[in-house]
Symmetry: D2
Amino acid sequence: GPLPVFILGPCALESEAFAWEMARSVKEIADSTGIPLIFKASYDKANRTSVSSFRGPGVEEGCKILGAIGKELGVPVTTDVHTAEQAEIASEYVDLLQIPAFLCRQTDLLEAAAKTGRAVNVKKGQFLAPWDTINIAEKMRAFGCNSFFITERGTTFGYNNLVADMRSLYWIRKEGIPVIFDATHSVQRPGGLGGTTGGDGELAPVLARAAIATGVDGLFMETHSDPANAFSDGPNQIPLEFLEDLIVNLVAVHHAAHGA
Amino acid sequence: GPLPVFILGPCALESEAFAWEMARSVKEIADSTGIPLIFKASYDKANRTSVSSFRGPGVEEGCKILGAIGKELGVPVTTDVHTAEQAEIASEYVDLLQIPAFLCRQTDLLEAAAKTGRAVNVKKGQFLAPWDTINIAEKMRAFGCNSFFITERGTTFGYNNLVADMRSLYWIRKEGIPVIFDATHSVQRPGGLGGTTGGDGELAPVLARAAIATGVDGLFMETHSDPANAFSDGPNQIPLEFLEDLIVNLVAVHHAAHGA
Amino acid sequence: GPLPVFILGPCALESEAFAWEMARSVKEIADSTGIPLIFKASYDKANRTSVSSFRGPGVEEGCKILGAIGKELGVPVTTDVHTAEQAEIASEYVDLLQIPAFLCRQTDLLEAAAKTGRAVNVKKGQFLAPWDTINIAEKMRAFGCNSFFITERGTTFGYNNLVADMRSLYWIRKEGIPVIFDATHSVQRPGGLGGTTGGDGELAPVLARAAIATGVDGLFMETHSDPANAFSDGPNQIPLEFLEDLIVNLVAVHHAAHGA
Amino acid sequence: GPLPVFILGPCALESEAFAWEMARSVKEIADSTGIPLIFKASYDKANRTSVSSFRGPGVEEGCKILGAIGKELGVPVTTDVHTAEQAEIASEYVDLLQIPAFLCRQTDLLEAAAKTGRAVNVKKGQFLAPWDTINIAEKMRAFGCNSFFITERGTTFGYNNLVADMRSLYWIRKEGIPVIFDATHSVQRPGGLGGTTGGDGELAPVLARAAIATGVDGLFMETHSDPANAFSDGPNQIPLEFLEDLIVNLVAVHHAAHGA
């Protein structure tokens, strides 16, 4: 089967220079490994655990940077939007709008994203069963959007833990809906008394390999040149220095599992 | 201990006449049973499972009706808000702003609600551990709101099921945060292939009794004069005809468990 | 409705003297509060987390002690059995045989217990849905046992946590099966790296109150005169000094919830 | 890395002729694909959902058949044991003793299995966290057994569902404990009102692929020449006719993921 698309980039758009640096590095790796790439970064971390967490440059400034990066490097770009207004603004600059998992059931936001004409990637809520994404797909189609993805990013599993159910990828694809696996958020340990969301960074490559063997249309991984000093989601992001080897491995597993 | 406040009313503001009729009935029952009452109805069901579901009259019209009801009957009123704009509009008419569970982590919405000066009731996300509500409380205080509640409404438990963990009520109260138990949403069976969210209506009184014995600051129950024909959440709402007997029972359990 | 039966006693039969002392104390409290009592203690902790944990005096010696206590104090006694052989031996001395939760699906053990002619209390596995106890009930009836209980003791909820779903009590009773709620094991935090099973002792009275308000046929609580020095399950057992007040409270809640 | 061992065979030892036929077929496939094989069949289904379910020929007869198969075909054989007595009997005929998941915490059974001197494969209880298998490993070592495996076969996930957490394979291996993934039981839908345990047979190959990409020391899959008419676990077993292609695929994924 064809290679899945890789959505890669840092969690947060920490600065303009950082975004450019990450995008150039990721693009180089994509070129050398031959994978289809979408570059990702967030302009606003709108649902951080704690009020004092870093949020980002905001929608206007952030999307302009992403748009310039996409144009210059010839790479599609994506970012997450949190309101109908943001969807409209972002759609002028980015190729793929991402709906955050907590907001996947907000009909007005889905409608606004759908009506921009851009492709839309809806992250599956941690509280949603795989087959419940069919209702999201129906909403998207009803709003005139036929180019959309569902991203699996783990399901609530007791307190402060998520589990990535590989069956979910299979079930959703069977419904004819293209599925992306988010390897770096699926390993989060959400919440906890400390006011930040922890995780298990060494597990993201493991789950990425499992997902690509299972079969996916896309793979989402956050990556950072210096995870220990990332402004958000540090513990889960793939260190940039390991990214190329990981992708080589994932491409090999894909071909072995699903043919060339 | 003092009686918990009862937040009662229909799921949706189906029509102006219906809202008035329900409010008068509920007020009468509150008077005869001696419970503190807040009347509740939603002007917009913004995260319905299916795109074709009934939504409601919208924020302006809905809140005006609620405001008039509150004034005429001398009863505080509440409704749920989904955006910063709605929070501002609703705050002109209602006494208590409710943040939907899926949105409990949207910092901008919490900030907007807090800054209206109204009391705020944040529903705990189905994906949140009890102790993670401490971060919500800290956000509310940071935004200048000191009159807020957390509502427990069940936690994701496998697929298409919620579980109401009674320990949660205890843990959150122990942190000094006033807790409301939502008995009618905690018995939901969210999602499912059929495109609506089902539930177990006969269980809501059972869980209400368990919660009041556990100890709560408030009890939230949706009630309807004709659940079988409700525009939304029909299977879970308490039939109005049974409400008075249920409240008499709950008040007795409260006094037995926690003293007069 | 009639008062539920109370199954009370220490987790482990730590010594003969300790068992007698606990039994006399518990009997006194039962007499003063007017509750129906079954005295409980385990002669073997057969599935401890760690190999070095205390286990107990064994089936012969343990059951003889329990039998003597029951006879002398005029109180029915119960203990848990782990093999067909133990069921037979224990049945000579105790009134109610208890099947441990992990073993609730072992057909041969259920059969052996059923065939002793004694009443049997099957603890519901942490991995079992409430309605799956119907199959256990059918097995018991098929083996000629018509006097049996199902004990709810919490369901696996993520890792190292249990949740007590109060709906379970309602659903199982609705099937005509008498239900006991185990308040002290439902608050366990099973496993953990440390090699012992932890818990939340202050929560057992809270869940007991919730369960009795929900409606049960029996309430199981372990109690100890010195929980901090108990040989097993210390953190979850009700301190004996608080037991009488707790039972007075629970009886009051029962009457308020379900009538005299 | 070296290829994982494959434990393959039918769920139940339905008859002597059937066991031989299955063993010969599976051996042929192992030879042609070059995988290390252990042949598996159960002589007693001791914890069936319903009392009227098929159980098997019993320990003596069943193990003799397995022993003869192993000798004749030159293949190690394994079966599950439910009591200390069975462990001793089975150890005379089979190479690897398997402890059922519900019984993984029964210290006496672990001890009996360990003391036979045979290798032991302990299935991880559906109620156990991955790191809690460290305590099982410590018990095995304390009883003198140093050749043991832990088999992941899914964790309780809400009611009537299991989830296979791929992280578990990684975490347990990291502790130095060899891990087997049971692909056909992990896709079970345990229990349900109907009195049998259902499942999703088409998912077993999917999870097997995910697990082998993740990294395992062994892969357990039940297979049957006619799953629709199997005496037990029919819906989950891999149809024998598809087994060879599946193994070819799994071996390729292993090499791609972990090197030759």
